[in-house]
Symmetry: C2
């Protein structure tokens, strides 16, 4: 048994039916010639089964504490069965990109079952060209971007022939489910060991709940926004992206050749990340302009940054904070905008480095789960995000991925598109990940916030073209 | 808010990952000529949406009490969204009966999300002949066979043109989610109102949990077996059907012409139900004989019977008990076996009538949820069912259905196959339901208990043929 950290617990507590807290991926695969979809499914099932020993989170499930008064534990699930986690599916007709994106939406909108280890892998057939899609779901409480990448590394191979991994030092041993009595004792012991502030807060949870209001909401906001409150950038303007979200999702995926982005980077002396932000900024400006909704002040992006210390790799759990940066959508010229973004990012990164990496983790140790769940609920009921100024308008996340071709159970990985989490107040997420010679992206949004998300993808393509032309002319 | 009855709560408490407690149906539909699968999906979605006011359980979700110490409540879900409940799917290739049955298995093995109203409806395309399948899931705590049929009646129509139902007297009003504090008060009040025995038992739950063992298991058994302990029939022999089940399912569906069964009934002067039991008995005998596993003593079937008083129709909830009856599998002659079954059933039904209808409901008011969940867990951990004699070997349920053609959102209902629940100790369920000119059945089993369930369906067909020939010769 291993107790969850405060920030991981937070990802459980802020989860509601309209805001499931799992991240995912849409992996496109090319099966070897002559392989049937059923054989592909079987190969993937068997491969994952053979690697379970090497990915501990996959067989761990939650054990909640009585009354949710302390952080929950991970236990090695004695009832683990892979059939719950690897599912075979087919696309409805006509099996195009629209149907694939719709399936991603459905899976993004469906919460993971907390009675099971918090992940699913859907093997999808019926795509054009005989390709196979694998859509993954993993709860944010169990991974962040970095340990998610580590899991991927363990499941993928460098060649079509899967490697044989060495057996683990000691075989996997399921836990017993402790009785309620034992859980009460464990919880009391754990609480009594906690630092003074935390213990006092949790002891006072019950009376606090009765009068809970504004304070809990402020705590909720702080968690959601991470570092934002410490930033020097002013508040973001209000846009359509910043309101109460619904249970429905919209999703679109695509990719850019890495060579195009590198040419732009070179021409203007900026970073890859700056180019990505500038492309998003251009598309956001165009999208809002089309609707006559472009605010006078610049949009602000929240950029997740890993604060995981190097020596904690492989430990799982979340070490992520948000960097806020202006997208300069009030600047009409794409190249001038790119230069401004680049200057801001360089300055902001310098500042971030000065903060201790584990600061947010420590802070998040304080609020008890019951308190947080209540805060998240208040947040939803009153739609508070619709009334106050947001800390940032969109999340833009650019994660470095593997540069070499990879294989999954003998199927070649063609592309890997992230699926992310819109939340109340920030209903639009753009996540990009490099793979081989391209940067693949996934646009995940609340459906009512960005109903025509396929059109947004077109605007991104147009933005990239504009910068590319400018680079060629420079 | 409406508190769940004891027996409905029991269906929640005995649910585990290996034993999900939802029932279901596999409804085969013929769309009107020229309708695309997407149009079929849309028609079904819109039809269900338009009838929500007439099926109250569809928008109700659970509200658990603190520490699960009292029965939970149903609340009108303020976050209700139909996208969580009606899903579009396609069969994997080649889209035959095997793939359809595999999908039924997957959905039967997946627990319903307790954060949502406890039902799902999957609209499946990709079947031979352009047919559409609708696979339903509804938690046993929310319905039994009878109120399940009432829900079906409300959603189905007598003609391809859906009827326009009158608006409800007052519009639907979602509940607020009460705070933990209010829930603590409500629970204390509810417990103090409960009859003496129940209150004492629940007050003593915490100390009892520490020493919980044999007694809880006995209680669990009693719940699972219902009336069985009062019966005069001896214990059932041990068979492959009576052991610890896994999380995996096997499923097969089929049907018989009603005319065939009626001819047998007439020839031998028995009931329709007797013929159905005799067909199952013959197939069970053949199946076990093929494996050299036929016990010397007759197998015993558990036959669920509704004990719902006429005046409680429409109230939802469960009023079901099990009648135990010998299947005379020790008798080699199919016709002699049919006659013996018929005689037993007539006598047993007479006896059942003498019991007050609400007896089981009253009894089940006693154990608290925490106690029951613990009992179910012990049951699983130690695989107790593998060691003691079962009360019955299989469940055989024969439910009368509608005799006239029905339509669902304009699609014609071709057949309606039940999907039922195997549980620890009774891993094989045969449920039949009449519709128009046929009796459709669904065989639901633990996968390891009946791995070749399609073969069992063939044995049932052979058994029906044997009795049919005997009837023609009589």
């Amino acid at each position: 048994m291993q107790q969850l950290s405060g920030i991981d617990t937070t990802f459980l507590n802020i989860e509601t039916n309209t805001c499931p807290m799992h991240v995912g991926g849409l992996v496109l695969l090319q099966p070897p010639p002559g392989q049937t979809p059923e054989q592909s499914f079987r190969a993937i099932f068997d491969l994952v089964e053979s690697r379970l020993d090497h990915v501990p989170p996959m067989r761990r499930r939650l054990l909640m504490t009585p009354l949710d008064i302390d952080h929950p534990y991970w236990i090695e699930d004695p009832d683990f069965d892979l059939v719950h986690h690897i599912r075979r599916r087919a696309l409805p007709s006509p099996g195009g990109q629209a149907e694939l994106d719709a399936l991603v939406c459905e899976l993004a909108a469906t919460r993971l079952d907390r009675n099971l280890p918090l992940w699913e892998l859907h093997v999808v057939e019926g795509l054009e060209g005989g390709r196979i899609a694998v859509i993954t779901k993993m709860h944010h409480a169990a991974i962040d971007g970095v340990s998610g990448a580590e899991i991927l590394t363990t499941l993928l191979d460098l060649s079509p022939e899967p490697a044989v991994l060495p057996a683990p030092d000691k075989p996997w041993r399921p836990d017993d489910i402790p009785s309620l009595t034992r859980r009460l004792f464990t919880t009391a012991k754990s609480l009594s060991r906690r630092p003074g502030d935390s213990f006092r807060l949790i002891k006072s949870t019950m009376p606090v709940l009765a009068s809970l209001g504004r304070e809990a909401i402020e705590r909720g906001k702080l968690i959601l926004q991470g570092e934002s409150t410490r930033s020097v950038i002013g508040l973001a303007p209000r846009t359509r992206f910043n309101r109460q979200i619904t249970a429905r999702r919209s999703y679109a995926h695509g990719g850019f050749p890495l060579a195009t982005i590198k040419a732009i980077r070179k021409a203007f002396g900026v970073t890859l990340n700056d180019v990505v932000l500038a492309v998003c900024a251009d598309a956001l400006r165009a999208y809002l302009e089309e609707r006559s909704e472009l605010p006078r002040h610049s949009l602000v992006a929240g950029v997740p940054m890993s604060t995981r210390p190097e020596d904690q790799k492989g430990a799982g759990g979340n070490h992520v904070t948000f960097l806020r940066t202006a997208l300069h959508t009030d600047e009409a010229d794409p190249v001038a905008r790119l230069q401004k973004i680049s200057g801001d990012m360089a300055a902001a990164k310098e500042k971030m480095r000065a903060l201790p990496a584990s600061l947010m983790g420590d802070w998040a140790k304080v609020p008890s789960p019951a308190l947080m769940a209540r805060a998240a609920r208040l947040y939803e009921n009153f739609g508070i995000q619709s009334f106050h100024a947001p800390a940032f308008n969109v999340v833009i996340s650019n994660v470095p991925g593997p540069p070499m071709p990879l294989y999954f159970a003998g199927l070649r990985v063609l592309a890997n598109h992230p699926v992310s989490i819109p939340f109340h107040g920030v209903g639009f997420n753009i996540t990009l990940m490099s793979y081989c010679d391209s940067i693949d992206y996934g646009l995940t949004a609340d459906h009512d916030t960005v109903p025509d998300i396929g059109h947004f993808a077109e605007l991104m393509r147009a933005a990239m073209e504009r910068l590319s032309h400018a680079a060629a002319a420079a």
